[in-house]
């Protein structure tokens, strides 16, 4: 009888121990790389000026050195129409450096190139063209119970294949806010469509955070036409009659939309992480590195009082 128990225990142990096995990953690349995530944006309140906003991440390879020397430096260069307009050679090589801002003369149609280089890294470079001026959205809004219903529309440029990023902004002010006041961004509530791989993006293709919440949409379905959208801001706190609202609309390079969609797909692809489904190869327009560098032109609707 005792022997039977021993056999049973042995078989159970074998069955349990067979479940997991560790092994080394061979054949991975050893060179680190730079991941660039940035854009150049024009704004109607700063005409003739391009605003650079750039994040640089030094990414160690999975198989190589995982730590960087404290003395290592990265040089970032920005060219407008082949002319060097920004050079910064004092960026510490680390996993996250922080925001690198910059301003220079630029306008729609300008070609902007950025490069990031450091010893031991392949030089990362990316190119974008600042899109044409964004259309000004027409906006109306009204309260419905606790929710804020927003209706807005804009006309797409038929001559280009564009994408748009929309930000819904609000501000508390006794009087009409200045056009240059940016306010706070709002999150919208959308259901989780079974067709959509993203939560809460409603009629949009993707949403992302860049300090504020943006909702991205391509012009594939309304190229050259007026696009009308209705969205709801749930549980909106209007706080009397001092709440104001407006829509910020950016015409963005299509690579930005493609990149944000890929990042969302990649981050959600749990089955891909363990080899049970195709992994998502994040789109990049950075050669020698990874990430995305894009252009944007911004327009704003007028501030309207929420009633």
């Amino acid at each position: 009888m005792r022997k039977k128990h021993l056999i049973s225990v042995f078989l159970c142990c074998v069955a349990v121990s067979a479940c997991e096995v560790e092994f080394d990953l061979k054949g991975l690349e050893e060179d680190p790389l730079f991941m660039l995530d940035g854009y150049v944006r024009t704004d109607p309140f700063y005409p003739g000026s391009g605003n650079l906003s750039m994040y640089i991440y030094a990414v160690p390879s999975a198989a190589g050195e995982r730590e960087f020397s404290e003395e290592a430096r990265c040089t970032l260069r920005v060219y407008r129409n082949s002319e060097l307009v920004i050079e910064n050679d004092d960026i510490t090589v680390q996993s996250f450096y922080g925001l690198i801002p910059g301003d220079f003369t630029a306008g729609p149609g300008d070609e902007i190139v950025v490069t990031a280089g450091s010893e031991g890294f392949p030089t990362a470079s990316a190119r974008t063209v600042i899109p044409g001026e964004a259309p000004v959205p027409e906006v109306s809004c009204s309260m419905s119970g606790k929710n804020l219903n927003v209706r807005f529309s804009f006309v797409d440029d038929a001559g280009t294949e564009d994408a748009y990023a929309v930000c819904f902004r609000t501000i508390q002010n006794d009087d009409v806010p200045d056009d240059s006041q940016i306010g706070y961004s709002l999150d919208l509530a959308f259901g989780n469509s079974p067709e959509s791989s993203f939560l809460d993006v409603g009629p949009f293709d993707v949403s992302w955070m860049d300090g504020v919440r943006y909702y991205g949409i391509s012009d594939d379905t309304f190229n050259g036409q007026r696009k009308e959208l209705e969205v709801t801001v749930p549980s909106f706190s209007a706080n009397g009659e001092n709440a104001w609202f407006r829509v910020e609309l950016q015409r963005i390079s299509r690579e930005r939309l493609r990149y944000e969609i890929a990042c969302n797909d990649k981050g959600n692809n749990v089955l891909g992480f363990i080899g049970l489904s195709p992994v998502t190869f994040a789109y990049t327009n950075v050669s020698g590195g990874s990430g995305c560098f894009s252009g944007a032109s911004t327009s704003y609707s007028d501030w309207i009082r929420i009633q």
Partner: protein, 732 residues
């Protein structure tokens, strides 16, 4: 005595005795080239209720002009292709060279670099879409009723079309016209029963077989016990079962005029009912609510196939025979899911998610084939077929978060018309040269587009001596149906959809050739090489999802190319008691999807080496032993080349696809059959099997993790350790 004209058929003599029934069969490349000299007769005194005396199977295969062809008859199923003491047809094919099995215990066939959906499975000439039960653990084919199967991986005859990579043509047995027979089998997971016999002696016969898993009967008390011991309120409920049924009625108006009705129905049912810790917390009407009641998750999944066919075989003249088939085949999958938050329901809010996914693929078709022998060197086949395809997929769901109630739905409906016409001629010159020349025309029409394709087929065999043949073949294939899947898993959320104006048919070209030797002393050696290209392949490019997108599925897949090449060898020796076989494959399988990577990269089943060793030994009339050892280089997987802030899933960078090879796969299976035949001819068979005898941890899926020194490693999960099994079979 019975005989059927045509190559590939044979002459057989069945002698019914009280204890021993002998079947004498010989097969030649054409009826007229049959020679008694080619018959090898071996009496098996140790055989039981039915013994089979056959011509040398290997000689038959070598004499055909086709490359890449294997015939597996029912005897082979008993040796080395047994899972859980249950013979399996797909496992038998997975052992063959040039075939990769994919992930362990999935009934996947990845033939010459193809995908699992590139194979045409025919059950008595009727296509079958879902070929497995229980996630691939069991195939849908009940081996009790299978007479033989023909497996083609290159050199496809023109009569086959519609898939890129292989053809698995399964033929079932008709019922016995003279006596009643039956088989009953009980295994650890499933049970089978078959009964056959005459309805009108020598005129009409029937055969019916039923198979069902009985895990649900075992799981129910286990689940009940687990739930009783669980103190925190979590409960698990559910069941899983599969069954399938084969039935046929065959009527002989005369020996040249045979009508048969065949039917297959198979189904899987999985139900889960879970009470899980509450996910809800927050405030309702200003009151803070801490979740206390369990959430409820309920899932019900059903999937399966139904096939029905009416077959008519008629000899018009001595050298002209006709066969026509009218059939229906349908595949269905229903997935229903509901999540309920009971906590908020108490406060009058209906918080729940409800989703239903339904997929239907149906074909109604008619085939007509003519077998004509205008001259002794020509064996001509002519045929046509029309298939009406109906693809229906739909999905709808509701989401109620207590504030908003939303309904979502999406669907796709396609009608496809597929028409094909073929002609092939198997010619034999000077007894040494065989040439199979064929051409197939396929037309596929869907709304807004008609595809026309010509597929040349050529196979040439040249005999250098009585025992050595050289063969070469060239084939083109097209596939108009795509298995739309977001994962690599064989799960019922996958659905079949047709080529459309935006999605072109998949296309393959393959060149194959080799040498086939029947060596002295019962040795045999076959060496065959191939080069194959594939175009218009699809690979899912979207986000994590179990359900493929329906509304925009055409834009959710990348288009690409594939290529595969390699050499496969078969070396074997057999005697009346002992059979030893070794299969080895050296192969490369690659893909190129420009939206993923700019160059060729390895396919996930780019298994460089594959070796299978099989042996069976008939120790005595009552005992036979078998063993098989399977080895292949590890599958491939894409792991991130750069990770920063490990643990944050957002921060993975992938470069080259399938950049890491997983550990090699190997396992040893052992088994034994113990037989006893009573004086009345009743046979008892006890089978004992051990799957993965030395408990190899073969990785099925992998997570990438980081050690303390920040180096990365893989953690693989192996699902199946050593598994002993037992079954009892009773034949009467």
């Amino acid at each position: 005595m019975e005989g059927i004209f045509g190559y590939g058929a044979g002459l057989s003599l069945r002698i019914i005795g009280c204890v021993v029934a002998l079947t004498l069969s010989c097969v030649a490349s054409g009826a007229t080239s049959f020679s008694p000299d080619s018959l090898q007769v071996t009496e098996r005194r140790d055989s039981i209720a039915e013994a089979r005396i056959t011509a040398d199977k290997y000689g038959e295969e070598a004499s055909r002009s086709q490359t890449g062809h294997d015939r597996i008859d029912d005897v082979d199923f008993l040796y080395g292709n047994v899972v859980f003491s249950s013979p399996d047809l797909i496992k038998a094919i997975q052992n063959l060279p040039g075939v990769n099995s994919g992930t362990e215990l999935m009934s996947g066939l990845y033939v010459h670099g193809g995908e699992g959906s590139d194979n045409l499975f025919l059950l008595d000439g009727v296509p079958m879409y879902q070929i497995s039960h229980l996630g691939g653990l069991f195939s849908s084919f009940n081996t009790d009723v299978v007479d033989h199967l023909d497996f083609y991986k290159s050199g496809f005859p023109a009569r086959y079309g519609g898939r890129l990579s292989s053809v698995v043509d399964v033929t079932t047995e008709d019922g016995d016209f003279g006596k009643y027979h039956g088989t009953f089998m009980l295994g650890l997971i499933d049970g089978r029963i078959r009964f056959e016999g005459p309805i009108v002696r020598d005129r009409t016969s029937f055969s019916i077989a039923f198979r069902r898993s009985w895990m649900d009967a075992v799981l129910a008390p286990v689940i009940s016990l687990v739930n009783r011991q669980n103190q925190d309120g979590e409960t698990i409920g559910g069941t899983y079962a599969f069954y399938d049924m084969n039935a046929s009625v065959t009527h002989r108006f005369s020996k040249d005029n045979i009508l048969s009705l065949k039917f297959y129905h198979g189904s899987d049912h999985l139900r889960l009912d879970l009470d899980t810790p509450p996910s809800a917390s927050g405030s309702v009407d200003g009151q803070s609510v801490q979740g206390a009641q369990m959430d409820n998750i309920n899932t019900d999944i059903r999937w399966g196939n139904t096939l029905a066919s009416l077959n008519w075989s008629y000899r018009i003249r001595d050298n002209l025979r006709m066969k026509s088939v009218l059939y229906y085949t349908g595949s269905r999958a229903d997935v229903w899911y509901r999540w309920i938050d009971r906590e908020f329901r108490e406060y009058g809010y209906g918080v729940s998610v409800d989703e239903t996914n339904r997929s239907r693929t149906e074909d109604i078709a008619a085939n007509a084939d003519l077998f004509w022998q205008p001259h002794k060197i020509h064996n001509v086949r002519l045929g046509t077929s029309y298939q009406y395809h109906i693809y229906n997929v739909s999905r709808w769901g509701t989401a109620d978060n207590g504030i908003d109630y939303e309904e979502n739905s999406s669907s796709g409906h396609y009608d496809g018309h597929e028409f094909s016409l073929y002609a092939e001629d198997e010619m034999r010159f000077w007894d040494k040269v065989s040439l199979n020349l064929g051409l197939r025309y396929a037309m596929y029409g869907v709304s807004g587009k008609v595809w026309n394709r010509l597929e040349p087929r050529l196979s040439l065999s040249v005999g250098c001596s009585d025992n050595v043949d050289f063969k070469v073949s060239y084939t083109e294939m097209n596939q108009f149906a795509h298995l739309v899947s977001t994962t690599y898993l064989d799960i019922p959320t996958n659905c079949w959809l047709p080529s459309t104006p935006k999605v072109a048919p998949m296309h393959s070209r393959q060149v194959s050739g080799g040498i086939y030797c029947s060596l002295p002393h019962n040795f045999r050696l076959n060496v065959e090489g191939w080069y194959k290209t594939m175009d218009n392949l699809l690979e899912y490019s979207g986000a994590n999802a179990l359900f493929p997108p329906l509304d925009q599925w055409e834009t959710s897949f990348n288009r690409g190319h594939g290529r595969s090449y390699g050499v496969e060898t078969e070396f074997g020796w057999h005697s009346s008691r002992l059979s030893l076989t070794a299969y080895y494959t050296l192969s490369w399988s690659q893909r190129r999807f420009d939206d993923i990577w700019y160059d060729w990269y390895p396919h996930r089943y780019d298994n460089r080496h594959k070796l299978t060793l099989m042996g069976s030994w008939k120790v005595c009339r009552a005992v036979d032993l078998y063993a098989s050892w399977n080895y292949h280089s590890g599958n491939r997987m894409t792991v991130p080349t750069h990770i920063y802030n490990p643990g944050e899933v957002f921060d993975r960078i992938y470069t080259r696809p399938n950049n890491v090879r997983l550990p090699d796969y190997h396992r040893l299976d052992l088994g034994a059959n113990f037989r006893k035949v009573s004086k009345r001819g009743l046979e008892h068979v006890w089978n004992i099997g051990i799957y993965n005898a030395y408990c190899r941890k073969n990785v099925v899926f992998v997570a990438v993790e980081e050690r303390e020194d920040k180096s990365l490693y893989g953690t693989g999960r192996a699902i199946f350790p050593i598994i002993p099994s037992f079954s009892y079979t009773f034949k009467f």
